[in-house]
């Protein structure tokens, strides 16, 4: 069996190696346009920031063996041809036309099975000056070395166009390299895979670390001359810049597939079935060039990630070798380190869930990520997105200095299993004070959703509250005076929870009551006390002071 694999970053080598594990007699050739094989693209921001010290670490196995063509030949029996470009696919004669970029020589490679692992490439927005030599993407090792060499001589002003994942990761890397960094984002928020109130917390944290963030701002041109950039011109003025990083996103490399007449999905990536076969069943597509299916909506989606690439490569290899395996789809799970915060999400965002037609119930639940009396406990802010009709968990998002990845991975597993919040609230998650509160954050959040669905609790989001006329409601802060003195919300009246039963007559009966505290637990108790005292319009502010995304008043007396 002859197999040709096009692309040698992640999914390609994985597919090739797995095929030869299953069928040692197979002849597998991997074609790679670039110089590097099986390099850890996700590690680039950490190499840029010097967290990873040497380039070769991104190119080696865990025990330090370089993953070069010799390694693949000796260890995996895979033939890897670097600096070799696949030019066309002849499906009729089952051949790939390729070209050795060093010698200029062209040649044909016959295949029984073909694997497209052509990856993705950064989107280059069509703006003036975009080709300036100090405008970079951060997509491969060459990009990274080029940026590092610019940064080598002194502090720089960096403008990052695009506030997505790569933009945010790069911002941190550049701050670590003593750059002053501005992110320019067209949308009203960074990290648009998150809902606004979570993204907003990340934004506030990045600002606290000195990153300037300009949302709803469109880059129009990059100005400069010869070797130097002067500024990025936007629809809201000029931003001085020594270098510009493009983090606008990536698009799948599908030209080879398109020219060969393979079906391209609505997402722009190569359409595949669950076996990773394209519309030509002898041609597979894996990794960043292939479309995925969303596990909640069942709809096609495009979420290029190294973790997915590896799984898809294994599925393709099994099917190529005559075994059966299928790739069920993705949840758009992601995690990212942003200075002292982790930010992570999985499943549908609230916006996506509404678009998909769900009657959505959400919660914002801040709290310590382990037993509150442990000195290692750190705040974690959690949002769940659920379906009112069934109670099913649809999505989850988390950020803060606390342990977010664990909760998102549990949520991802629960969403995959179509669990309801009732089920999630009873998961036997491991508990000890250094690792979680007795009621894990995810369990508390599930109980909040259950209280909302049952009607025991009526929540209001900060954004909904923002749209209410101030005179239409009584804003009740049930925290202690000491807490209020430290940080307060404008327009609130303070009656500590412990005094509420005695001071209930201070609360107006002709207005809606919005109760809040630090994390909304005491506010929920307050709402129940008021309800028991005949107040029937009481709402609890989702997320309390801890997740309030607007201005706060500090040091009020």
């Amino acid at each position: 069996m002859k197999v040709v694999v096009i692309g040698a970053v992640a999914a390609g080598p994985k597919t090739a190696s797995k095929i030869l594990r299953l069928r040692p007699d197979a002849e597998v050739t991997v074609l790679e346009k670039g110089e590097f094989v099986s390099f850890a693209g996700c590690g680039l921001p950490y190499y840029l920031s010097n967290v990873v010290k040497e380039q070769k670490e991104l190119l080696s196995t865990p025990i330090g063996v370089p993953r070069d063509p010799a390694f693949f030949r000796k260890v995996k029996n895979v033939r890897v041809l670097i600096r070799t470009e696949a030019l066309t696919i002849d499906r009729k004669s089952r051949q790939v036309e390729a070209k050795n970029l060093q010698t200029g020589e062209s040649f044909s490679l016959p295949y029984d099975k073909l694997v497209l692992a052509t990856g993705a490439q950064p989107i280059i927005p069509p703006i003036s000056g975009i080709n300036h030599k100090k405008v970079f993407t951060l997509h491969n090792i060459e990009d990274c070395e080029a940026i590092r060499s610019v940064l080598a001589n002194g502090d720089k002003k960096a403008v990052i166009i695009g506030g997505g994942l790569i933009g945010v990761e790069t911002a941190e890397a550049l701050v670590r390299k003593d750059c002053s960094v501005t992110i320019v984002e067209m949308l009203p928020q960074i990290l648009s895979v998150l809902d606004w109130e979570i993204a907003r917390q990340v934004e506030l944290h990045m600002r606290s670390k000195g990153v300037e963030i300009r949302t709803e701002t469109k880059a129009l041109a990059i100005e400069g001359t010869g070797d130097e950039i002067r500024c990025v011109t936007t629809d809201k003025g000029e931003i001085p810049a020594d270098l510009v990083i493009l983090g606008v996103g990536v698009r799948p490399n599908v030209s080879l597939a398109k020219e060969a007449g393979l079906e391209i999905g609505g997402t722009g990536a190569i359409r595949v079935n669950r076996r990773m076969q394209t519309s030509d069943l002898d041609i597979y597509a894996v990794g960043d060039c292939a479309e995925s299916r969303h596990l909640v909506t069942g709809q096609p989606c495009y979420v290029p990630l190294g973790s997915t690439a590896n799984k898809q490569g294994r599925v393709a290899a099994l099917n190529i070798c005559g075994l059966e395996d299928s790739f069920p789809g993705v949840l758009g799970s992601m995690v990212c380190q942003v200075f002292d915060f982790t930010v992570a999400r999985t499943g549908l965002s609230e916006a996506q869930a509404r678009d998909a037609g769900y009657d959505v119930v959400t919660c914002l639940v801040p709290g310590p990520d382990r037993a509150h009396y442990m000195p290692t406990a750190k705040p974690l802010m959690l949002k769940l997105i659920t379906d009112r009709a069934t109670g099913r968990l649809l999505g989850a998002q988390a950020t803060g200095p606390g342990e977010a990845a664990k909760r998102m991975d549990v949520a991802a597993t629960a969403i995959t299993a179509a669990m309801t919040v009732d089920q999630v609230s009873k998961l036997d998650l491991s508990y000890a004070p250094p690792y979680s509160p007795a009621m894990d954050n995810l369990i508390t959040a599930s109980d909040v959703i259950r209280n909302k669905i049952s009607g025991a609790m009526v929540g209001i989001t900060p954004m909904e509250l923002r749209n209410k006329p101030a005179e239409s409601y009584f804003f009740l802060d049930v925290r202690s005076p000491g807490e209020v003195a430290k940080v307060a919300l404008s327009g609130a009246v303070n009656i500590p929870l412990g005094a509420l039963r005695d001071r209930v007559n201070e609360i107006p009966r002709d207005k809606e009551i919005i109760a809040f505290c630090q994390v909304s637990l005491r506010a929920y108790e307050a709402a129940l006390i008021l309800k028991a005292n005949g107040f029937d319009r009481v709402k609890v502010l989702d997320g309390g002071v801890a997740m309030w995304p607007y201005e706060r008043i500090f040091g009020k007396q």
Copy 2:
């Protein structure tokens, strides 16, 4: 509605508070024999070691409000009577006979619903000297203060009888307080909820931190006079001791229930249905006095934990208030910090799975807990226990300095959903280099199981290998000479993986081949190369050098 709750540590206050949230008109009285309400028992080892600085932190809410009877009255409208013991339950007249331990006064409390949250108590082994004043349990705040006062004047020799969870946690706390610590354990291993090879890694780590561990050793007597202990006598000699801690386990407090004629389960705890009702449907039992059901086997089990207590309390409260809710059961999930290691487990151990009749497939998979090139990456050792027939994940265990709790919580969720390793291997877990490898440890481990079930890989455990005559197999180390020079296994021949294809004729054809490397990935490649070269009896050593539980040879040239 009148509700009486007996016990105010964890499940009791939770049940009481939740009832009043649902039914503000209910009259709820909580009886507590001791002085402290709603105290964080799981935090005791950390208070003992001074990680938690003050006693009151274990007795306060996250914002520092003491959870005392006044707090419960003002905030929750729950009446808590401390130093009040429930003496008998009169089921006919629906009354609890109680006694104020301060005044000596007895009184009756009528109930419509009764909740038993009587907790558990440490098992006191019947050995001579056990009542000496320097023999302690670590079950409540008074215990903890007593131990702290003994430790206050200088370094001590401490003997811990019992190597379970509390024994291990206490060992670390005492080492932090500069004690020299010996654990005496009757069984062949500490932490018997783990399989031996995982427990063994924890044991080796504890030894490296100076804890002496004597397994298969039975404490016979505690010797001493008056104020001072001299030693603990065991069946294997004397161990000098200044103080003794009992960590033999706990047993549920069921005497009240028993005397009232309520059904006691085979585990010794109070039998309950999924609504937490005892055999008298107006009497509920929650927390450490109640039996649970194992989610995999469906069998009754007894796993007292604060996390479970909270969930059960909520379920009981809902049912008491006429709403429906059920507690499905537990997985025996646990996590524990042991010096620089985390140790965690969920579901069935291999031993439990075999007892339950499963044809078990297991794996030992060591590896870095995040992208190997990240300087923050730490080793994690993982074991999965699965059912050969269905591929279902039955249990998981993990230890090492790496992130174990996340993987165990994902495993717990997957086991709850009855997922197979095929499904686990395709979970869309969040990935970024600071958080996980591109293939999460749990996904790699699932793929190892899949390879074993499909026959692509034949494993052998270290214990199985230990039982083989050395002359019956060829022990093949496929690591690099540099790695071998650092640490080697006795009797192995080194042929690095990269050279194996060329040196295949050095391998005897008349013996079984056992291949290994650091983590068993290269050994798997080696086995496939050998198989392709006509060797048909090749096995891969589970867990490689990284998880070898016996002697290793260091610094061999």
